[in-house]
């Protein structure tokens, strides 16, 4: 008779399961009226349209649950970005003071010191710092290359996992960024399903950093892991967690708003408690709750933003093409992935860095070298195009053009 083996549930770190203590908050309301009086007098202070959520409530509110209205607004905004193809429950939204904080916090919860997360290369250089510094967690690369547009393959996943095993390192999860930074491209649905299947088989977590989800050039190009989950009735969902932030899509990094959306109840509870270390001020929450609840504004914004990004992308791709530079075909994000490998004397990291230096110092352009992103192939660079005026971009393209011309001349004379 077959014995039913209960599938082990996906584990959390020791920090996550350790006892948390009760919350004893003491706040002084004795002299509140003085503050209210001050704010009445001074028009510099913000006045909320919505009178029911007055200053008192705002200032005293210090709950790691976050304002209900803000969580609702975030959930609804995330739905809109996905064209309504996935639903988000405000009760699963955990707020953090920025995306950096969200990345670190979730890592504390999912992995113990010495454990590893698998991340496809090339990846955002900040991960090395944000995921590892205080957590003691390692990052192991899932190697991708240009032969198939830097897409993750099941073979690469297996290889990375096996490498970890051979080094006796426990893998706790796979972290993908979708749309990808620095590639500027989205991950296709079938691949998402394969990655989810891999994570389920190995009984590890799947983290999808969707910070650029609102920056896909067209709504339909981007498929979120949440859509994949919804389509399969949330089977295996308890291992999936999604990052989001307003720093990229809304262009408001100074507001420091990050979220962890988790389909795992224990992770939500633990992350929420842990977010005491990284709370968003209630003033900021209130302001953004208003903004993101305004459906007319958000629909309009998302549409306009996508349009402008796409237009910028076309300008830069065109300009680079004219200069004889090829880029990876992109469809999202604030940057493109440029191939300068033909310019390298030898395909090495050192030569890539030499090229980077000359571009920085001679051409006066700061672009990010692929080696910083742990790219396995030298010669690729990330070029951002959304943080300057069109004129400046054109000017930059001219500098690149001149640089390429000079290189051509140098080549022909040698």
């Amino acid at each position: 008779m077959a014995i039913e083996i209960e599938k082990p549930s996906v584990g959390l770190s020791k920090v996550a399961v350790s006892e948390t203590h009760g919350e004893f908050h003491h706040i002084l309301q004795v002299s509140f009226d003085l503050l209210e009086e001050y704010l009445e007098k001074h028009s510099e202070a913000t006045k909320w349209e919505n009178k029911s959520c007055g200053f008192r409530k705002n200032a005293l509110f210090q709950d790691y649950h976050g304002l209900q209205s803000f969580r609702k607004a975030m959930a609804s905004f995330m739905e809109q970005i996905r064209g309504g193809r996935a639903k988000f429950n405000p009760e699963r939204v955990v707020l953090t003071a920025g995306a950096t904080a969200a990345n670190e916090l979730l890592t504390f919860i999912l992995a113990d010191p010495g454990d590893a997360l698998l991340i496809p290369t090339p990846y955002y250089p900040g991960f090395d710092r944000d995921l590892r510094w205080r957590t003691g967690v390692k990052i192991l690369p899932i190697k991708c290359d240009s032969s198939n547009k830097f897409e993750i393959t099941p073979e690469a996943l297996e290889a990375a996992y096996n490498e970890a095993e051979s080094m006796n390192i426990k893998v706790r999860g796979v972290l993908i960024t979708n749309p990808s930074n620095p590639l500027g491209s989205t991950v296709k649905r079938s691949l998402l399903e394969e990655i989810l299947e891999f994570a389920t088989r190995k009984n590890i977590h799947l983290i999808s950093d969707e910070i650029y989800s609102g920056s896909a050039f067209s709504c339909t190009e981007f498929v979120s892991i949440s859509e994949v989950l919804e389509a399969r009735g949330y089977k295996d969902a308890e291992r999936v967690h999604v990052f989001y932030s307003l720093s990229k899509d809304l262009g408001l990094p100074g507001f420091r708003v990050g979220t962890i959306y988790s389909y795992n109840d224990k992770v939500v509870t633990t992350a929420r408690r842990m977010s005491s270390f990284t709370l968003i001020s209630s003033q900021t929450q209130q302001l953004l709750a208003s903004m993101l609840s305004d459906k007319e504004f958000t629909q309009n914004y998302i549409k306009i933003n996508r349009e402008r990004l796409r237009k910028r992308y076309e300008i830069i791709i065109d300009g680079l093409k004219k200069a004889g530079i090829k880029c990876l075909k992109g469809n999202a994000g604030l940057f493109c992935w440029m191939n300068l490998s033909p310019l390298l004397e030898k395909p090495t990291k050192e030569h890539e860095l030499d090229l980077w230096k000359s571009i920085l110092h001679e051409v006066k352009l700061n672009i990010s070298p692929g080696s910083s992103c742990h790219c396995s192939e030298p010669g690729w660079f990330r070029v951002c195009f959304a943080n300057m005026s069109e004129q400046t971009l054109e000017f930059a393209l001219r500098r690149i053009n001149d640089f390429m011309e000079r290189r051509k001349c140098m080549r022909s004379t040698t």
Binding site: Q29, K47, G251, T284
Partner: protein, 534 residues
């Protein structure tokens, strides 16, 4: 400020010389005679020198050079002068380590790694572009930033919404491309640091200079404490903390850092003040447990008790820290809520006035705006440190808990109105004092005594007469009773690691004056049922 310690030191030093003299004189008499003058002078001199050496080995004098770091720790621990009282202990400690510390204040290896992090090209490039930014008019040869994934394309759409929906807000004033929307340094706007520095000085009501450059701002005092824990201690190390201490300290220090807390019990017999005996004992206990103590963390005004550390105690602490070569974290979040006649002395004041005598590198102050300015929802935490390594590591770590830009701007505005702040602090103090007196008075009528507190908006009450069994269990039973029956939420001492059962922190901050009798009445009803049972 009069330094009473110095005068006493010389007296003690003089006493030693007198002792020496009393040995030499009779010797001179003995060796008088044949060749006596020579021997008569050499022998006593030699004896005198040997005596000096002996005394030096025992404890040294002010004229000695500071002992080498490696030797000091062992010699000091073996040659503790006999205990008399806390006061004398301070002076003897001064003799042991006269100038400077017994070693440089070490930061954690994690902090070192973070502070010395060599930046790769990704970050170097960002910095270079920031240092020499392209500007069409003013710097056409500058570096064009193509390495920063920032989206400024549709800010106008956001700006429009804000303009329509939030009246005249300071947010709108500066929501420009280089304004609040853009990435800024994580540890806070310089403008805000300047104002916070001024505010801290206002709060302690002394013209102290707090250097804005030594400030790191965080999203609340909780991450400030955690960041310092990461910077000062490695996993497996420990901090000493006088108990009772506030329950969340366990979470703030321990939950993610791997650092332990070794409580230093304070007792009602001492009015819950810290004794150096207890500190020593706790330090040695930690050693026995194999825990390396990296620092002491105090709250001043203390919570949950509400007492203030006087100058002598602060000096004692500094001496202790110097001697053991450890850090001090002084959590002064309730500094603005002091009330009554006692003077509040900030650790910063001691450091400022002591100058070179103490190693500033081992002192770190935590402050925050959630308590004093009733703004937990706008929470700002402050790390104030003299230690450059800690400062740079803390700045890096602040990226995980930064304060949002709009909140920073609101606070800059509010804290700049110094007259308002002055008035606020004054009135606040008066009200806290009034509430304290009323509340403590009300409890007294029930036969419940409180320790004399001079800070914070709570009182530390001895409710042991109401508990059935004098134990933690009995205390928690009372707590449940208070919560579920009297509907009064008090913090039990056991949650604060208090070694004596029956003490509760009762916070009156959310009450109005007229609520006090209601609360007292509810507690009275509980106390009657408790007394009738026993």
């Amino acid at each position: 400020m009069k330094k009473t310690r110095n005068s006493t030191t010389t007296t003690t030093g003089g006493g030693r010389a007198t002792t020496a003299m009393r040995v030499i004189v009779p010797l001179q008499g003995i060796v008088q005679g044949r060749g006596g003058l020579f021997l008569g002078s050499v022998i006593p001199c030699a004896l005198f020198y040997f005596l000096q050496l002996y005394l030096k080995g025992r404890g040294g004098s002010k004229s000695d050079e500071p002992p080498a770091p490696t030797e000091t720790e062992s010699s000091l621990s073996e040659t503790h002068l006999p205990e008399v009282s806390t006061l004398q202990r301070v002076h003897s400690r001064l003799l042991l380590s006269p100038r400077g510390s017994s070693g440089p204040a070490q930061v954690s290896s994690r902090a070192n790694a973070i502070a010395k992090q060599a930046d790769g090209p990704y970050f170097l490039g960002l910095k270079q572009a920031a240092d020499d930014p392209y500007d069409e008019m003013n710097n056409p040869d500058g570096v064009i930033q193509l390495g920063l994934a920032e989206n400024r394309l549709s800010l106008d759409v956001v700006q429009e919404w804000l303009a329509d929906n939030t009246r005249e807000s300071i947010i709108c004033q500066d929501l420009s491309i280089s304004g609040i929307a853009a990435y800024q340094s994580f540890d806070g706007l310089l403008e805000l640091k300047v104002v916070v520095a001024g505010f801290m000085s206002q709060v302690i009501e002394k013209p102290m200079f707090f250097n804005p450059a030594q400030i790191v701002l965080t999203a609340g005092a909780t991450p400030a404490i955690e960041i310092l824990s990461f910077c000062l201690a490695d996993p497996g190390n420990a901090f000493l903390a006088p108990s009772p201490y506030y329950p969340d300290l366990d979470r703030d220090v321990k939950s993610r850092t791997g650092v332990e807390i070794v409580p230093v019990p304070c007792r009602s017999s001492d009015n819950f003040s810290l004794s150096t005996t207890a500190l020593d004992r706790a330090f040695n206990q930690a050693k026995k447990r194999g825990l390396k103590v990296r620092g002491i963390i105090i709250s001043n005004p203390s919570t949950p008790v509400g007492i203030l550390y006087n100058r002598e105690m602060l000096y004692s602490l500094l001496d202790f820290a110097n001697e053991k070569n450890i850090h001090i974290i002084s959590n002064e979040v309730f500094a603005g809520s002091t009330h009554g006649s006692e003077e509040f002395v900030s650790m910063a004041e001691i450091i400022n006035t002591e100058g070179e005598d103490f190693d500033r590198n081992r002192v770190h102050i935590v402050y925050g705006l959630s308590k004093d300015v009733s703004l937990p929802g706008f929470g700002i935490g402050v790390i104030y440190t003299f230690n450059k390594n800690v400062l740079s590591a803390a700045k890096e770590l602040s990226r995980f808990s930064p304060v949002s830009a709009p909140t920073q701007h609101l606070l800059i505005s509010m804290l700049s109105h110094t007259k308002f702040i002055q008035r606020f602090i004054k009135i606040n103090r008066e009200r806290v004092r009034r509430m304290y007196i009323l509340f403590v008075g009300g409890l007294k009528q029930l036969g419940i005594e409180c320790t004399k507190s001079y800070g914070g908006f709570y009182c530390w009450a001895n409710m042991s007469s109401l508990i059935r069994s004098y134990s933690e269990k009995g205390e928690l039973e009372l707590w449940e009773n208070l919560l579920n029956v009297a509907k009064v939420n008090a913090t039990p001492g056991s949650s604060c690691h208090c070694v004596e059962p029956g003490w509760f922190q009762l916070c009156f901050s959310t009450l109005r004056e007229k609520d006090i009798p209601v609360v007292i009445e509810r507690i009275r009803r509980i106390s009657e049922t408790c007394i009738s049972r026993s």
